[in-house]
């Protein structure tokens, strides 16, 4: 199971790096979304994978030897929520960039850092 997850994460990272290196902001954002999912999966796997063992202990019973690790799930949940907010902002920002700069090509976005004109 871990191998499968590792391969999935690897493919996600590879795809997102490819997207982020392309010269277009929207693809860059898609790349960020993918790589953040890869990070979330990494945390999830780091908590060890268990099969069908909920982290619940019935009243009076001893703690089970194998139970799902609830902490990484909480961490991933937090990270997803935060990531959602950040990407919502990033997408709106990119949209604003498109309307006010008329371009989504990073190489053409030189308004804040204009190229030096030779004197």
């Amino acid at each position: 199971m871990e191998v499968l997850f590792a391969i999935t994460i690897g493919v996600l990272v590879a795809a997102s790096v490819y997207l982020m290196l392309s010269n277009h902001l929207l693809r860059f954002i898609f790349g960020l979304v993918l790589i953040s999912n890869a990070a979330n999966l990494t945390i999830f796997v780091a908590g060890r994978l268990t099969d069908g063992a909920p982290p619940l202990i019935p009243v009076g019973a001893d703690a089970p030897v194998i139970a799902a690790n609830a902490l990484p799930q909480a961490l991933v949940l937090t990270a997803i929520v935060i990531g959602f907010g950040l990407f919502a902002f990033a997408i709106v920002l990119v949209f604003r960039a498109w309307t006010s700069l008329n371009s989504l090509t990073p190489d053409e976005m030189r308004l804040a850092e204009p190229e030096e004109t030779p004197k």
Binding site: L25, L32, A39, A46, L86, R96, A97, S100, M109
Partner: protein
């Protein structure tokens, strides 16, 4: 004790809520000032307690460490919280004159206080995932502040800032995941001993992930490009608080993690940091020399100065860490102040582009004096605070026979003087190209007070640190000792092992 640690986070948080609710009323800006002043009081109390009792720790929600979220303040955390509060007070007074009603209605004060809450949270947390959360609070508030107003330059700078910082965030998150998988804990004090039994080679890889993540935040070479692309675009009070605090959170996180957790293979990690520090100093100062806009020059100087702080961490001798701590505190005050002064220059002389302004020395001598103090301090003139900061670091480099490093640190100091002289000559000395007399009396009395009081206050602090370095160096020594031997930190969080 936990209320003492939670207060500096809760105060700006509640202030942000109150400021958001009153964003359409003039009272909103006063709420921001009062909130910052209360934060300053709380941080002084915290500082006192830490000075008296040593490291203070509190477990949030009553969950014992290492399972719950721990807040912990040693001397470094306490002084960073204190200096944050000082900058917050200064900038929120400055904002009275700098931030217009349109930006207030858009929620400037709420975002500003949220930013402060995030910064303070990052300084006092003792839990790695919680650090991530505070980084995000800080980041989202800074995104908002950066593009507030929505001028095209701001959007342009904002895109680069957002893109690179989001990548750093994801690196950080991945690092946290891997570290948790290896050790099973996220409590920083617990990690300090838990990493001893982990696979050391894997640990080095994770350490490098953290180095990149915090390196982007701290704006070190070669990860700093978002900073000069964006810091000159927002309102002056925003760029002052960014320049003073944001990158320093990255430096703080680097210092914390690479003294407490990642000290297993210093020959590898700290050697990388050393060369990163050298290149950051050199590239930053050369970048500044090529610029002709006051704020852009100052932005590149942030990068260059970050190099000095990383240098202190990389050498990892007691004296070098003393220098790093001293440098952090000195730099926050000086850098925030220089951006505030640039804002006044822009208002009375009509810009920050050096070729288009001038005559400030003749028409506004008071501003000229107030500029000289932080500018010379930044360049390292005795007896100002920057001299002692640089002196400690160069001495530390000489002590370990790192001649080349010491030489670079001194040469970068010289080039810093070049940039400051350039600002001085063109903005202050030469007459204004349009024949305008940039007098301070062009401002209304209220604006003048709101501009000059925080600038004078911060300049005074620079002079105080410079003329009475003994007390501050002693403090930095105690703080560095705590960093090098984190036993007190670990005991405060986890309780006595015996």
């Amino acid at each position: 004790m936990s209320w003492l640690l939670a207060l500096p986070i809760a105060i700006p948080f509640l202030t942000a809520v109150a400021a958001f609710l009153t964003r359409n009323m003039p009272v909103g800006r006063w709420i921001s000032i009062i909130g910052s002043a209360i934060l300053l009081c709380a941080s002084i109390v915290l500082m006192n307690t830490v000075l008296r009792d040593g490291v203070v720790a509190g477990q949030m929600g009553g969950w014992a460490a290492p399972f719950g979220i721990t807040l912990v303040a040693d001397l470094l955390s306490a002084v960073m919280v204190l200096i944050t509060a000082i900058v917050a007070v200064a900038v929120s007074i400055y904002a009275l004159a700098d931030v217009d009603e349109k930006m207030e209605r858009l929620g400037y004060h709420a975002l500003f206080n949220m930013l402060i809450a995030g910064v303070v949270g990052a300084f006092v947390t003792g839990d790695l995932f919680n650090l991530y959360v505070w980084f995000e609070v800080m980041l989202i508030a800074s995104f908002g502040l950066l593009v507030l107003g929505g001028r095209p330059e701001q959007i342009d700078g904002g895109v680069k800032y957002v893109a690179l910082n989001l990548i750093s965030t994801i690196m950080f998150l991945t690092g946290i995941g891997l570290l948790y998988g290896m050790t099973g804990t996220l409590n920083m004090a617990d990690l300090a001993s838990a990493v001893d039994t982990a696979d050391q080679r894997l640990l080095t890889i994770v350490a490098v992930l953290f180095m990149i993540a915090f390196g982007v935040k701290a704006a070190v070479f070669p990860l700093f490009f978002w900073l000069p692309a964006s810091y000159h675009t927002p309102a002056f009070s925003v760029s002052a608080v960014f320049a003073g605090l944001l990158t320093k959170v990255g430096v703080y996180a680097l210092i914390r993690m690479f003294t407490l957790v990642f000290d297993h293979d210093t020959a590898f990690t700290h050697t990388i940091l050393l060369w990163v520090a050298v290149l950051t100093m050199v590239v930053g100062v050369l970048g500044a020399a090529a610029q002709s806009d006051m704020r852009k020059i100052l932005s590149f100087h942030i990068v260059s100065q970050i190099g000095y702080m990383i240098l202190g961490l990389a050498l990892l001798t007691p004296l070098a860490l003393v220098g790093a701590v001293f440098y952090l505190v000195h730099h926050i005050v000086v850098k925030a102040n220089l951006f505030l002064i640039a804002g006044v220059a822009q208002r009375i002389a009509g810009g920050t582009e050096l070729g288009r302004i001038g005559g400030l020395y003749k028409s506004a001598p008071l501003l000229a004096i107030l500029f000289v103090v932080p500018a010379f301090s930044l360049a390292g003139f005795p007896p100002l605070s920057g001299f002692w900061a640089k002196f400690l670091l160069v001495k530390a480099a000489l002590d370990v026979q790192a001649w080349f490093i010491a030489f670079v640190a001194l040469a970068v100091g010289l080039l810093t003087i070049y940039s400051m002289t350039k600002i001085w000559a063109q903005a202050f000395w030469e007459p204004h190209p349009d024949g305008i007399e940039p007098k301070l009396s062009r401002l209304s009395t209220r604006d003048r007070a709101a501009f000059l009081i925080p600038i004078a206050g911060l300049a005074m602090l620079t002079v105080i640190i410079g003329t009475m370095p003994e007390a501050f160096v002693q403090f930095a020594e105690r703080s560095a000792a705590q960093l090098l031997d984190p036993t007190a930190y670990i005991t405060a969080v986890l309780g006595d092992p015996s």
